[in-house]
Symmetry: C3
């Protein structure tokens, strides 16, 4: 651990934590949406939309602060990359929720719930890891676990695709399902990108 | 505004402006293509292909100049990122034009014209913003407006998808349309990435 | 060529070469898989999976070494970017191989073999270029050739799409084929990204 001579603006850590907490909310809403009926889903998709707006504001608060802060806790580029990567996770989850409602996908395969459960776990450990950026301690457990979860999501995604191609005979229904399933997989990839960005920052600061 | 001690190669600003002007041409051609008949579309797609080659050369001129210039106006990495991001916008627009012709998509939904109109507006304000990189003044209006346009494109894209799934009963026709509509959405995302890159540069230089 | 005052850890060059050699193995396996029957394909997809795991370990060896090395041959960010870009090539090739087996795609269009041949050529010249990172000499031939191959892959990909839309009447079969063909195109893009990363590094070091 290097000795810091200059004081650094610590609020960035709080901002990243706040940003990641929106992801916990988002992933929970996705999970609730799945269990709801068509009317309930509309209401939840609306809440998801609000959560996405809040996450967006959190991102812009970080970006503006990069601008107004003289000494940042790590490279401006990395702060930018981390804020954007967190924002992407939310965008994909919100897109999935919106399309499930738009496409009126009443019966989603059971494995979609498994995909969303992985996203929920990703969101939780991401939110837990953000405050540890301050000390840069104990972060490797986080990115190792995210990599494991993303691998699991990837395997699940392929099984789900193969199963859908076997089970769903209506090609238009299949196209809708495939799109939602792929956006959920992109959300898992986005969480991995957050973890990779954290790893890059930790490597530089170590 | 910092006082510059070293003279900086100003031609980069002209090169970025030239590069962005190809995007204005490209987006206009896309709009013309939509209004043309099958024969006219082939001719316009050929012009689009030529425009893409010119844009490609403009990009490579920038990249070579990074190589041969001792003092660049901003980080080499950022020049590279901006040149690549501008190039991506053109690639997506050219791909869309090519696929509309290849897939013989005579009747595109009316909202595709709205997508292209947004791209045209994005191209115009991007081209207007590039010369302002010199002074780094008045750039925030540009990226705020691009973000607004990209949000609008995103909403339009989802409505268009839902509408297509309701209206188009031939799954193969639907797959073709969906691909074109998604590439146009990727073009809008690419314009946003240009704006994000400009924002990153402005943040560093401020 | 700059004169180096500090000794630099040269093993990074060996690690990048090893990583790229996994891509040669992977592209060969893809090509063999295409010529095999359904049973043979399963065995080859398993070998591909093993190759992907080895490539993954090679990537992590590089990333860990960034961490433990005081003087790196070039920017840590660039080492990270190059290792990740090489890893992406393998991921796409493995995904294509896995889906060909999962989707039981017995009859692939002949042009898929052409796509894979381009990937094989990309892998070979990438593996040949990696040791030249040491001297930073004669690298431009490599990235110019990769750009040429990627252009060729792009044209082939569009022709293949148009042909498939004309020839395949079963929309579900078409969706499967389209996905595999697009992942192979993403693999070609990933090789281009490797070449772009090498170009960025060479530009900085020149």
């Amino acid at each position: 651990m290097r000795f810091r001579i200059t004081p650094r603006d610590t609020t960035f850590f709080d901002l990243f934590t706040a940003s990641a907490e929106h992801l916990v909310t988002g992933s929970k809403l996705l999970s609730e949406l799945l269990g709801a009926d068509r009317q309930g889903r509309k209401a939840i998709a609306k809440q998801m939309n609000d959560a996405e707006h809040l996450a967006d504001e959190a991102t812009h608060t970080i970006l503006r602060r990069i601008n107004s802060t003289f000494v940042t806790p790590f490279d401006r580029d990395d702060i930018y990359a981390l804020a954007s990567a967190l924002d992407d996770c939310m965008d994909f989850m919100e897109e999935a929720s919106d399309l499930i409602v738009l496409y009126k996908l009443d019966d989603l395969p059971r494995r979609v719930a498994d995909q969303i459960q992985i996203l929920q776990r990703c969101a939780e450990i991401t939110a837990e890891a953000m405050p540890r950026l301050r000390s840069m301690q104990d972060l490797s457990d986080y990115w190792v676990e995210i990599n494991r979860l993303e691998n699991q999501a990837d395997k699940l995604h392929r099984k789900l695709l193969a199963q859908m191609f076997d089970d769903v005979s209506d090609p238009i229904e299949l196209m809708k399902l495939k799109e939602v399933v792929e956006i959920l997989e992109e959300a898992a990839d986005a969480f991995e990108k957050v973890a990779n960005t954290v790893e890059t920052i930790a490597v530089k600061e170590s």
